[in-house]
Amino acid sequence: MAGPATDSGSSAESTYRSARIPLLVPTWVMIGVFLVLPVALMAVYSFLTKEMRGGVIWEFSLAAYDQFFVNRGLFGDEPASLEWTYINVFARSIAQAGIATVLCLLIGFPTAWFIATRPPETRGVWLFLITVPYWVNLLIRTVSLRFLIRENGPLNDALMGAGVISQPLALINTDFAVQLGLFYSYLPFMVLPVYAAVERYNFTWSEAAADLYASRWVVLREIVLPIVKPGIIAGCLLVFIPSLGAFLAPNLLGGAKSFMIGSLIDEQFKKSLGNWPFGAAVSMILMSLVLILLLLYARSTARQERP
């Protein structure tokens, strides 16, 4: 005779198993519709032939990648060499995004620290204030920034009124303006994860380190930074990745020389001269680059964690 306990046990397990599949459906749908499908679509489009007024012809072609990497001269009749135009756009974008990340860290870390060390009942107010600007659309905010720093805008007026400068500063349409835009747009993405990490930090650790003869600077370097590192990494990724693909700040604040990857992709889909397969190919290359960087990071931390 089979024991009743065994019976009910196995039936409970099979019930659990059969219930698992329908419960997973929403996740699969989410991942499929919002992740796999768009990326797959983009991958496919990057290998199609362009239609002259936007759109694609369903015919396999490597033209998009060829345009990105290979230079055959203005009329296509010279020997093939490496095309630097787009690689330079990438390099400049990486530099811009890198600087924006460092700036956000330099300002965001002390800000997060400040909020996390307030009494618990006032922390919520500070976090709320950080998010308030985000109730306004990013486009509007970027345009406002353009207005603020233009030649006869409020910033230059104020500086000239105060006698700090005699000529208006040419801020608009410079790399500086793009940098300001990126910094302003993505600062909260640094503050929030760093705040979450610092909030969990136990300040007795700092006391223990100071008690064991560590100076303030050493406490920061040896104790605080390693412990809150996951928050800093998360913040850096959340600033760096969208900055790399940003197009509003370079389009609205930068000049012709401040062209970034985001603007390049944007152009391919927006204008009648656009090239959908090329835009898709640039997106694929950008995504691969980000993935490679993430994998390198993951491998370096995995190596560190081995004893």
Partner: protein, 352 residues
């Protein structure tokens, strides 16, 4: 000889709250000294001021004769064992123990060896490469101890280090701490609210309450000759009985109990009038009625090792008596008339 620590009329004010009111005490070198008191009495504040985590509002703290007010925590030759251990979560056990040595500039090889010795001392050699989170509470506590002792501080500060452990472990750690102190010869300053801990480990105890030191003395002094009601009541169990003092001289007093019975007792009080008498329940024996203090048994509570007998004295005062649960005793029953005999040192007249 200079004292290890000298606290001179130290006051600490937090905003509008005064945590310490002009506290003075001296701690000798190689002493196991305990600051004992209920939460909020200022004992942890005093310890944190010695470590340098809190500034002294008024007064001074001397360490081996040197005023340490101007020194940052990292410049003071004292180390702390924290209540919640505060082990660095991103470092292995051995790196935690070696941290203070690293900060003092010891070379890698030397500090590895010394940290290894410290781990051996606390019986955790096998756990050197573990992360702190992989250890039990008791093990983490021992790592914290090894970490604080590794740089050979002149004074070790312990902030309720056993309070997070369960009872059995706490008792075992008491013995270990006491032994470590005598082996290393380092002055231990131990903060606790647990009177049993204080009595079993300390050379001397300072009993604190509401920002004042109530009494300083050996465990025996504190327990057997409490000065005031707070100390008598906080340390162990006692009967506090209001009495009339007839005569007092040279630390001895003649008092009248509520029932009219007169006894002579050691005294912390210096004047006549109404004072409180402390009578330790285990120093009282029950005899036949007619001899000693007359009382009636009201209740007998069985406690295993002891029996707690609640009696009412002539004159209506309630008292408790502790009898050891030995084979020779006769267990009284409620309603029995008994005569109480106060043993030598059972009673002490308090100053308030």
């Amino acid at each position: 000889m200079t004292n290890a620590v000298e606290i001179r009329t130290v006051t600490k004010v937090f905003g509008t709250f005064t945590a310490l009111h002009g506290v003075s005490l001296s701690i000798q070198d190689n002493e196991f000294f305990t600051l004992l008191g209920p939460s909020g009495c200022g004992k942890t504040t005093l310890l944190r001021m010695m470590a340098g985590f809190e500034e002294v509002t008024q007064g001074e703290i001397l360490l081996f004769g040197q005023n340490i007010a101007a020194l940052e925590p990292n410049q003071r030759p004292v180390n702390t064992v924290f209540q919640q251990y505060a082990l660095f979560p991103h470092m292995s056990v051995i790196d935690n123990v070696a941290f203070g040595l690293k900060m003092k500039g010891w070379p890698l090889e030397k500090r590895r060896i010394r940290a290894g010795e410290m781990l051996e001392m606390v019986h955790l050699s096998d756990f050197a490469n573990r992360a702190p989170a992989q250890l039990s509470g008791g093990q983490q506590q021992r790592v914290a101890l090894a970490r604080a002792l590794a740089p050979q501080p002149k004074v070790l500060l312990l902030d309720e280090p056993l309070s997070a452990l369960d009872l059995k472990l706490r008792q075992a750690m008491r013995m270990e701490l006491k032994q470590l102190q005598s082996e290393t010869g380092i002055t231990f300053i131990f903060v606790t609210h647990d009177q049993e801990e204080a009595l079993t480990m300390s050379n001397r105890i300072a009993v604190m309450s509401a920002g004042h030191v109530q009494q300083i003395g050996t465990p025996r002094d504190i327990y057997e000759s409490p000065n005031n009601r707070f100390v008598a009541d906080f340390i162990g169990e006692t009967n506090l009985i209001e009495v009339e003092v007839e005569a007092v001289a040279d630390g001895q007093a003649q008092v009248v109990l509520p029932g009219g019975h007169r006894i002579t007792t050691s005294s912390a009080a210096r004047d006549k009038g109404r004072h409180h008498l402390s009578i330790r329940p285990e120093r009282v024996t029950l005899g036949s009625p007619g001899v000693g203090l007359q009382a009636v048994v009201e209740q007998v509570i069985y406690l295993g090792t002891d029996l707690q007998v609640l009696v009412r004295l002539e004159g209506g005062t309630a008292m408790q008596v502790r009898l050891q649960n030995a084979a020779r005793i006769t267990v009284p029953s409620p309603g029995d008339a008994v005569g109480l005999h106060l043993e030598e040192g059972a009673a002490r007249l308090l100053s308030d």
